[in-house]
């Protein structure tokens, strides 16, 4: 009679064999088409990796188990939407938070779709079958996330008219260009392994806790349980993606020819950490401004998730293998902890006539909280809101100078963290092929100068208007961006806010 231990060992061996056959070692030579047609040489990695066997799928997941687990998550999320529909939860959500969701959903839905496209490339062109399989699971995850974001918008559009134009808004709305630039970059990496640095390392280790934990917590505090449920469901996959990023990074840095690989890997680490900081700093306005019931400042979330979780965690593991702190870390910290969310919010208010979501001046209660969290808040932007209090509409009539790399208006001044708009401002420019390119920061300029052929062709919205390719009038621009009359503006001047205040007094 077989011993229990022998049976267990045999069962495990069988499991590993099955896993190898169906996932980690699932590789074949194509017979109907050539290998170059399946994976053209220009789409494959140019990294001189010596040992592809070091790469693995860190989760060792069978497809049937993957489907079962994901189906359970779907059930929970769809139940949350059905309950919200049945009990009319949307009417109990703070309109300030709803204004933020108008910005959030179009950006995030499309970002997930681009991550799906990016992983289609990695999964197809990876020389390691285990990595291809892990990436295959991830591309399914990203598609699920994108579909759920669209599904959530389908629910929301009954209450939020603006979301009916989400696709056009994503394509043409001024602030959305910063997301488009980043995520179209994600889907078209220079190398399949660059995608891992973009997605699994910088985005998922660096920022998804901010996006899918800190923001949903604030959402729940402002009555939005659907958002909280959706993002928690998304984040449950991110842990797997983060593990894939770590495993891939380790496999690359443990190659015997590590020194040969390091300059490229370090550049990708520097580049994508900066690119994500520039874009996801925008999410600071959800915590610092949209949320009336505040749970955590962007600065606190940044320290907890970005500095401690991402930078310190990653360097602890990989600095001994040669990885250095990201090149622009000092600028990132200076911006995120001093003025990033405040500058973004101020800019959004200054252009509220070109928005589809509402903005508003911070209330006295907001300002007290902001001063407590950011001791230099008055120097940074408090003076501006005082001007608005005194009757200055605070808006700007004109086309802003937009960074030719990140596509966001130039509102940061690394020279002066206490008053980012002070006289010490220095405009960064680069001449390339007879044209002047403008940058918001050393980080954006550095990336452009490394890869000008990739970024030089992208025109900013302001440049398109100057060239006559986009209408120059406010009405024409709003139509181009998909904005209908009545959308945008100052929330506190709208009936919906007054009705909300009345309902709060009654309730």
């Amino acid at each position: 009679m077989a011993k229990k231990a022998d049976i267990r060992e045999a069962t495990l061996r069988q499991l590993y064999e099955n896993y190898g056959l169906t996932t980690a070692d699932l590789e074949w030579e194509p017979s109907y088409v050539s290998k170059d047609e399946v994976s053209p040489p220009e789409r494959r990695t140019r990294l001189p990796v010596k040992d592809w066997s070091k790469f693995e799928d860190p989760f060792r997941l069978f497809f049937e188990d993957y489907v079962r687990v994901q189906a359970e998550k779907e059930t929970v999320f769809h139940d949350a939407i059905r309950l919200a529909e049945r009990f009319g939860e949307a009417r109990r959500i703070n309109p300030r938070w709803i204004a933020g969701m108008k910005l959030y959903y179009p950006a995030v839905a499309q970002s997930e779709a681009e991550a799906h496209r990016g992983h289609l490339g990695l999964s197809r062109h990876s020389p390691s079958p285990a990595l291809a399989m892990a990436s295959f699971y991830q591309l399914l995850d990203e598609l699920r996330h994108a579909q759920n974001d669209v599904h959530a918008m389908r629910y929301w559009v009954r209450y939020i008219d603006e979301l009916k134009n989400w696709a056009q808004i994503y394509q043409n709305f001024w602030a959305m260009q910063v997301f488009r630039s980043l995520f179209e970059d994600m889907a078209t990496p220079s190398d399949p392994f660059e995608l891992v640095f973009h997605t699994n390392v910088a985005l998922e280790m660096g920022y998804t806790n901010l996006l899918f934990v800190a923001a949903p917590t604030a959402g729940a505090a402002n009555g939005d349980r659907v958002f909280a449920q959706l993002q928690m469901s998304t984040q449950s996959d991110e842990t797997r993606h983060i593990a894939l990023g770590q495993a891939t990074l380790r496999a690359l840095l443990e190659q015997e020819n590590r020194e040969e690989l390091l300059p490229t890997l370090q550049y990708w680490f520097d580049k994508w950490t900066w690119r994500h900081h520039r874009v996801f700093g925008v999410t600071g306005i959800f915590l610092d401004y949209f949320a009336e019931n505040k749970t955590m400042s962007y600065k606190e979330a940044f320290r907890k998730y970005f500095i401690e979780g991402y930078i310190q965690g990653l360097l602890e593991d990989f600095e001994p293998l040669g990885l250095k702190p990201p090149r622009f870390l000092d600028d990132i910290v200076k911006e995120a902890e001093n003025y990033q969310s405040h500058q973004v919010w101020k800019l959004a208010f200054q252009y509220n006539y070109l928005n589809y979501f509402e903005t508003f001046p911070p209330t006295e209660k907001d300002r007290a909280w902001l001063r407590e969290k950011y001791p230099n808040w008055d120097q940074v932007v408090g003076w501006y809101w005082e001007q608005v209090d005194q009757g200055d509409p605070g808006i700007v009539q004109g086309l802003p100078l937009i960074c030719n790399l990140c596509q966001f208006p130039i509102v940061y001044n690394p020279e002066d963290p206490d008053r980012p708009t002070n006289g010490s401002f220095r405009l960064r420019t680069t001449r390339y092929n007879g044209r002047t390119y403008y940058f918001c920061s050393d980080g954006c300029q550095y990336i452009f100068e490394h890869e000008p052929e990739k970024y030089a062709h992208a025109k900013t919205l302001t440049e398109l208007v100057i060239e006559g390719k986009v209408p120059a009038s406010v009405e024409g621009l709003r139509e181009y961006m998909g904005l209908e009359p009545g959308w945008g503006g100052n929330l506190f001047e709208k009936p919906v806010w007054k009705e909300w205040l009345a309902s709060q007094r009654e309730g």
Partner: protein, 75 residues
Amino acid sequence: MAIYVRLKGELPPIFLPAGPPTPVGEALAIAAQMWRKDPAKARLLFQGRPLEDPSKPLAAYGVGPDDLLELEVVG
């Protein structure tokens, strides 16, 4: 190729629909309107130097087609 102008102490810079041949006074009027300032109580600066003569073209002060000006409120 475009000239941009920022309100002193403010960002972002804004596109100024003007070129090096544009007279300083005309450029000042356009820039002041963007921030709803009175052009009579404002002046343009280039690299920290005021552009004093409203009848002279921007080019006379060395302003090229890609440069950044500042609008300063005075008085």
